[in-house]
């Protein structure tokens, strides 16, 4: 059985299609293993060789990866929700109600998105605390710490813009209060609030602006910075500064 599978794999490797995609033989020597990394867009930014200790993981190491997983979950569920949602007043509220009570599995998707967003904020903060208490802001991680702070802010802005979209009383007053905080900025506060809302009150323009920020601009920024963040984790040799381990190994 195993040999049948192996011979099928060997046959596959000799086909023209396989060779055109991977261009080289099996990764059996150090050189071909390196080429396997270099020749793949999704692997080429990872180090070709890593120290064994930087692969040793603790439970808290997963906090960042879980945040990424939740982000991807939110992208998928968010795109699915977009198929039933119009960013218009008062239609947005009715669409949200339809998702809960009329659309098949709509309430499941909406709650995945909603609770997933709450969890992501929680996990991003937990990840930040872990990195902070492990000294992960010290050299050589200084730049990646700043990228992480940007990602924290993007996460919070994503949560806040998503808060308005159900267009219910909670959404309306949360954004009324939140954008009034913008007005407290000296001199330009009222102008910034006017541009953010597209008016003087939380109305149709504000809903549309928050929607575009929520589904296009902020996710693109998040993707960009997540890419840099994970790339730098590999290049900096792990999430945090590694001193002597608990078991005495370095």
């Amino acid at each position: 059985m195993a040999s049948t599978f192996q011979s099928a794999l060997e046959n596959l490797r000799t086909t023209r299609v396989w060779k055109s995609i991977f261009r080289r033989g099996p990764a059996i020597t150090n050189r071909t293993r390196s080429l396997a990394m270099f020749g793949n867009l999704f692997l080429h930014w990872l180090p070709v060789k890593v120290r064994e200790k930087s692969l040793r993981v603790r439970a808290a190491y997963y906090l960042g990866s879980l945040s990424l997983l939740l982000f991807l979950l939110l992208v998928v569920t968010g795109v699915l929700l977009m198929f039933y949602y119009h960013p218009a007043a008062p239609q947005a509220y009715h669409d949200m109600k339809d998702l809960r009570f009329v659309v098949s599995n709509g309430v499941f998707l909406r709650n995945m998105h909603r609770i997933g967003a709450h969890l992501m904020v929680l996990l991003v903060f937990a990840h930040m605390f872990h990195v902070f208490y492990r000294g992960g802001y010290k050299p050589p991680h200084e730049f990646n710490w700043v990228v992480g702070v940007v990602l924290l802010l993007v996460t919070l802005f994503l949560s806040y813009t998503g808060y308005l979209l159900p267009w219910d009383q909670l959404a309306f007053w949360a954004v009324t209060v939140g954008t009034n905080i913008i007005s407290a900025m000296p001199i330009i506060g009222n102008k910034v609030r006017f541009v953010a809302l597209g008016g003087n009150i939380v109305g149709e323009n504000a809903l549309l602006r928050f929607y575009v920020l929520h589904v296009v601009i902020l996710p693109l920024i998040a993707f960009l910075f997540i890419g840099v963040h994970f790339w730098r984790v590999q290049k900096d040799g792990g999430v945090t500064v590694r001193t002597k381990d608990d078991d005495g190994k370095n």
């Binding site: 007053w173 009324t176 209060v177 009034n180 905080i181 006017f194 541009v195 597209g198 008016g199 003087n200 009150i201 109305g203 149709e204 323009n205």
Partner: protein
Amino acid sequence: MSDDKQNLEGAQAARRPEVSRRDFLNEITVGALGIAGLGGAVLTYQYFSPNVLFEPSTTFRAGNPDLYPANSVTFLQDQQVYIVRTPEGFFAVSAVCTHLGCVTQWKPDADMIACPCHGSKFQPNGKKIEGPAPRPLPHYAINLTADGELQVDKLQIIKPDQVLKA
């Protein structure tokens, strides 16, 4: 050896114009792109500031003055305004809290206006009793139309001692 080199460099420096053509063109290009970028930022800001707003009118009629009994505070929910009638006359007080924009409530038993969001309290004339609100509730311009109805202009804020004589 080193003297020769210095002489050579000196001669080259003398022939070289103070600003080379390449540096000049670079600076012109960077300057032009800077101006274009600044213009783009201004245009973007203008684009994002709407010129026409489909928001409720800021001027409204509040009905016949006789609707409001003496010494009363009446909350007009649609307009988020209190019409207050005292022995001196009428005035219109904003019902929007000056802290973060919640709509306040008139509490007749306590004779005060209270905000449900963060606990600010005001007198019926808008004066602050306690925070976190930073300012008193503003008074809006109020007058009588030709056919004898009260009219309030929410864009025009007047001093709190101005009243419409009853």
